[in-house]
Symmetry: C2
Subunit: 369 residues, 2 copies
C-alpha cells in the first residue's frame, strides 16, 4: 500500500488542516492515518468533525503528542501547520524520523532556519515543501502562457498585489498572532508570503536585488518583547527594470488581487491565493487601446477573460487537492524534488529582507545574488 | 452674450486641446473664440481640423501669439496646456489680463509656483482650476456614497492606484518630455498627478503626513541638466492608519485602476482617469466572504457593479464636458471658487514631496500640517 498511497499524519488541529483533510481525501493517492495534538481529546474531536464531513474508510488515529505521531511506522508524510516559532523543531524531528514534510508558511523565523530544515530533509531523503496551494493550480500554466505570449503583457515591468483579511480583534491580538516569538513576521509571514511567492513565480524565481518594507500597523503582546506586523507594505526591485509592490494586512477585509503589467497590457488575477467559489478559475487580460479620432478621444477597454476548468476549492481538481496529490506523488517516488526547497528559501529570504528594511524605516536592503 | 456663454481662448495646439474643443462645444454654456500658437498656420490647421469634426457656427480666430489672444476683449477664459516650465508665465499674464484660467497638470514646477498663480488669479478675481477631468464625473458622487455607506468599504485603510501608458520612443525621449527644465516631474507630473489627486479626493483632502517616492526609470536629454522620471512609485502615509501606494509610467501600457480598500470590502475603479468608451461609467464593489463549512473552505466573491449613466467621453454628459461646463459657470458667475486652488496646491505639495523623497532614495519626507 505504501507504494501507491501516501499515508499522512497531521501535527496540530489548526483550522486549515480541515481543508487539507478534504484535499487528502480527494487526492486519489493519499490518506490520513493519524492526527496529533498536545491534547488527545482535541485530536479526537477534530477527527470526528472531519469524518462526519469527509470520512475515510478507516478513521485516523487520535494521538496526544507529536512524538507519538512521528514514531509511527504507518506514516509516510506529515503536514505541519504549527506556529512558526515551534515549526523548525518539528520539521527537523519529522525529517529525522524519515517523514516527508509539508510545512505551513512562513516556513521559518529566518532563512537560516529554512536552510537547516531543507538540509535535514535532504539528509534523510524526504520531500520538503511549503503549503502554498496556488502553486498547484492549473491557472499558473495559463498565466505563464499569457506572460510569455508577447502580446497580453509584453515585457513585464510592474507587479502589484494585495492580500488581506479583516481578522477579529481576538484573532489579531490573540496569543499566537501577537507573539513576537511565535509569529515574528505577523501578517508578512501569514499573508505577505503569498505576495512574495506570486511575485517570484512571475519573475521565474529571479531574485530582487533590493527591497524595502514598511510596517504600517503592529500589535505587541504585553508579555512579548517585539511587536508583530498587522499591516505591511513592501516593494521589490529587480534587475531589468522590473519592480513589484505588495500590501498585506490582518485589518482590511478580503482582498487577494494581483496585477502583472507590461509594455503591451496587463493581467489581473482577482483571487490569486484562494480562488473564488466556482467551477472555473480565471484571470482577466486587458489590452486597453487609446483611440483618438478627430476630437473624440476614446479609451477602449478590451478586457478578455481566460478561464481554466478547475474548481475553486474542495474538489478533486482544486488547487489544494493538487498540492497533496503532487506532494504524495513525490513522496511515493522516493526522489525528493529540491526545486521546492529553493523556492521556499527564496521566499523566506525576500521576506526577511522586507522585514529588515521595515525595521530601518524602509531603507533599501540589498539581497546577495 | 458674455453672461450666458463663456468665451474660450486656447493657448497652444496640444492634442489634448482637440478633446477639449469638443467638450466646450458640448458644454452648452461655452464657445471657442480663438486659438493661439507661436505659428499662426499651426493654429489655423488646428481650427480647420476641429471645425471639420465639431464645428462652431463661427470658426474661432487663428492667432500667431499668446499675447494676441490675451489682448482680445472677447475672450473670457483661457485653457493653457503649455509645457509646465512655460506655464506659470502665461497663467500670470492671463490672470493679469482678466482671463479665467484652466491650467493643465502638473500645474507648477513647485508648490511655490502654484501659490503664485493662485494669488494672481485671486487678485484679478478670476477662476483658477486644473484640468483633471475625473473630478467632474458623476461617478465621484457614487463613489463617495459607497465610501460613506459603512458596508461597501467600511473604514478606509489602503488606497492603491496605477496610471500608465506605453509612450513611443519618440514620445518618451522627445524634446519636451525628456527636458528637465520643461517637465521636471516627468511621468509623476503627467500621470502621478492623477494618482495623487484621486487619493486626496478619497481622503477628503486630508494631507498625508509623510510620503516616499522611488524613481524606477528616468531619461536625460543630452542638453538637459536633470533627468526626468519615466516610471515612478510612491507611498503616502496619513494620520489615522491610512496609507496609499501609486505607480505611474510612460513605459507600461494603459493602466488606470484604483482600489479603495477597508475593513468591510473594497472598491475597484478600472478606469479612474479616462473612463472606458461606453454609455456608463462604473466601478465594482467586492465584499468577498470566507465561508468555511466543515472541511469545505469556500471564498465567495460577492462583487457588484455600480454604474452611473454618463458617457465615457465625447458626450454632453461626459466628464470633460462637465469640467468645461462647471468652469464656465464659475467664470460667468464672477465668483471664483478658491476650493479648486486648494485642491491644486495640495496635489502639487504631495507631488513635490514624492519627488524630493525619490531624490533621497525613498527616504520619508514629512509634509507640514
Amino acid at each position: 500500500m505504501a507504494n501507491t498511497v501516501c499515508r499522512w499524519g497531521i501535527l496540530s488541529t489548526a483550522d486549515i488542516a480541515r481543508k487539507n483533510w478534504l484535499a487528502i481525501k480527494n487526492s486519489g493517492n493519499a490518506t490520513v492515518v493519524a492526527v496529533a495534538s498536545r491534547n488527545v481529546e482535541k485530536a479526537q474531536k477534530f477527527i470526528n468533525d472531519c469524518q462526519a464531513h469527509a470520512p475515510f474508510e478507516q478513521a485516523p488515529a487520535a494521538l496526544g503528542s507529536y512524538e507519538e505521531l512521528l514514531a509511527r511506522t504507518d506514516v509516510d508524510a506529515v503536514y505541519i501547520p504549527l506556529p512558526t516559532g515551534l515549526r523548525k523543531e518539528w520539521v527537523l524531528r519529522a525529517a529525522a524520523a524519515g517523514k516527508h514534510v509539508l510545512a505551513e508558511k512562513p516556513v521559518g523565523i529566518s532563512a537560516a532556519d529554512v536552510r537547516e530544515m531543507s538540509a535535514a530533509c535532504a539528509k534523510h531523503n524526504v520531500q520538503f515543501m511549503d503549503g502554498v496551494m496556488f502553486m498547484h493550480s492549473q491557472r499558473l500554466n495559463a498565466l505563464r502562457a499569457a506572460l510569455n505570449d508577447g502580446h497580453s503583457v509584453g515585457r513585464l515591468r510592474r507587479i502589484s498585489s494585495s492580500f488581506s483579511f479583516a481578522g477579529s480583534d481576538e484573532f489579531v491580538k490573540g496569543n499566537i498572532r501577537a507573539s513576537g516569538e511565535l509569529e515574528p513576521a505577523g501578517c508578512l509571514g501569514d499573508l505577505g508570503w503569498y505576495n512574495i511567492r506570486f511575485t517570484l513565480w512571475a519573475m521565474n524565481y529571479q531574485m530582487p536585488t533590493k527591497v524595502s518594507g514598511r510596517l504600517l500597523s503592529q500589535v505587541r503582546r504585553s508579555d512579548s518583547g517585539s511587536p508583530v506586523p498587522t499591516e505591511f507594505s513592501g516593494e521589490l526591485f529587480f534587475d531589468g527594470d522590473v519592480s513589484a509592490s505588495f500590501y498585506c494586512s490582518f485589518l482590511n477585509e478580503n482582498q487577494q488581487w494581483a496585477v502583472l503589467s507590461g509594455s503591451k497590457g496587463f493581467i489581473r488575477v482577482p483571487d490569486f491565493v484562494c480562488p473564488f467559489f466556482g467551477s472555473e478559475v480565471s484571470f482577466d487580460v486587458t489590452n486597453a487601446r487609446f483611440a483618438p479620432r478627430g476630437c473624440d478621444f476614446a479609451m477602449e477597454d478590451h478586457t478578455r477573460r481566460v478561464s481554466v476548468p478547475e474548481y475553486g476549492n474542495g474538489a478533486p481538481n482544486a488547487q489544494e487537492t493538487n498540492l497533496f496529490r503532487n506532494f504524495s506523488q513525490l513522496a511515493l517516488s522516493g526522489k525528493p524534488d529540491t526545486a521546492w526547497d529553493d523556492i521556499t528559501l527564496k521566499t523566506q529570504q525576500v521576506m526577511d529582507a522586507c522585514l529588515a528594511s521595515a525595521h530601518q524605516d524602509g531603507k533599501l536592503v540589498e539581497l546577495g545574488r
